[in-house]
Amino acid sequence: MRKSSFDELSERLTRRLAGYSSRRGFIARLGMALAAAPLFPLLPVARASAAEPPKTDFERNAQVKDETKCSYWKYCGSDGVLCSCCGGGSHTCPPGAEPSPISWIGTCVNPEDKRSYVIAYRDCCGKPVCTAGKSCWCDGTDRDLPTYRSSLNNDIIWCFGNASATYHCSTAALVGLAG
């Protein structure tokens, strides 16, 4: 029976491959590839570690696990008592308090991917100040400017756009990845 040209082609290809490769060669090359792979910073993880070193004390100590600690990464410019200690979340107000429509906006570096994210520091208003423990009172000052640059100042109580300007607690909402 006449061989089909497809059969011939695949036979030629496999024979050629067989001539140039060996099982041990495969193992050697796999080993080399595994050893050499870390040298190529192609993966996002590798790129992240090559990013800029931390610039501030806050960035050096920032963590991503516990939203009720001042060192949580999004609080790098947060001044006040954390809503996450008061029945709310890192970006949600506790029941009965309403978010301010205006805020100041800064950036924080996420220690996991070392990238800068735009963060809106929103106060929750309309209830007396939350009485949480000392460890929930934070004063992150990354990218905070003096009061004469009021739109970038963390001392301002941002409740002045609300029906009640009474300050209850502070949140930090993730707006997006800085471009």
């Binding site: 590839a33 756009g161 707006v175 997006g176 800085a178």
Partner: protein
């Protein structure tokens, strides 16, 4: 022979584990983080310099901070209105360069402003912004100056009455 052929197929696949590992890592990195909006540089500049008060999308408490969304482009219907935006104190005194400030103004007017800018309006460039920001509106009664512009835009240039909202009692008492 059959055996050799399988080895060859295997040999062809020698890079597969690596590809799989790499793909797995990319996938894991993606799944771990929540979906976060990636911002263009001009959006970042807008947010960091304007968005806190004017809102992420140009809407805030309109009585306290003028709404930009679908409105701000009306100012480009008169020469004074066009100059007004870069002469506003917090625009003129921004720490951004003329170039970046022009980009932010264009983003605000033509993107956040939607269709409010007149058809064919010229975008701001660095030179124009640089000129106007050296003449900031800090020696006028700003609310009156604004109201004059706005009344003219409403009566002569088909701007909606919504432009007037700013300056009313912010808490509506």
């Amino acid at each position: 022979m059959a055996r050799t052929r399988w080895v060859d197929v295997f040999a062809q696949l020698q890079w597969a584990p690596l590809v799989a590992v790499a793909f797995g890592m990319v996938l894991a990195a993606d799944l771990k983080s929540e979906p976060v909006k990636s911002l263009r540089p001009v959006q970042g500049d807008y947010l960091l310099n304007c968005g806190g008060c004017h809102g992420f999308n140009g809407v805030s408490n309109a009585k306290l901070v003028p709404s930009l969304k679908d409105l701000v482009g009306y100012y480009l219907r008169t020469p004074e209105g066009r100059a007004y935006l870069p002469r506003l104190p917090n625009v003129a005194f921004s720490t951004l360069s003329d170039q970046k400030l022009a980009a932010v103004l264009n983003y605000v007017v033509f993107e956040i402003g939607g269709n409010s800018a007149p058809v064919g309006a010229k975008p701001y460039d660095a030179a124009e912004v640089g000129r106007w920001r050296k003449q900031p509106l800090n020696e006028v009664v700003l609310s009156q100056y604004r109201l004059q512009l706005v009344e003219n835009l409403i009566s002569q240039h088909q701007a909606p009455a919504e432009l007037r909202v700013y300056g009313e009692d912010p808490l509506g008492n």
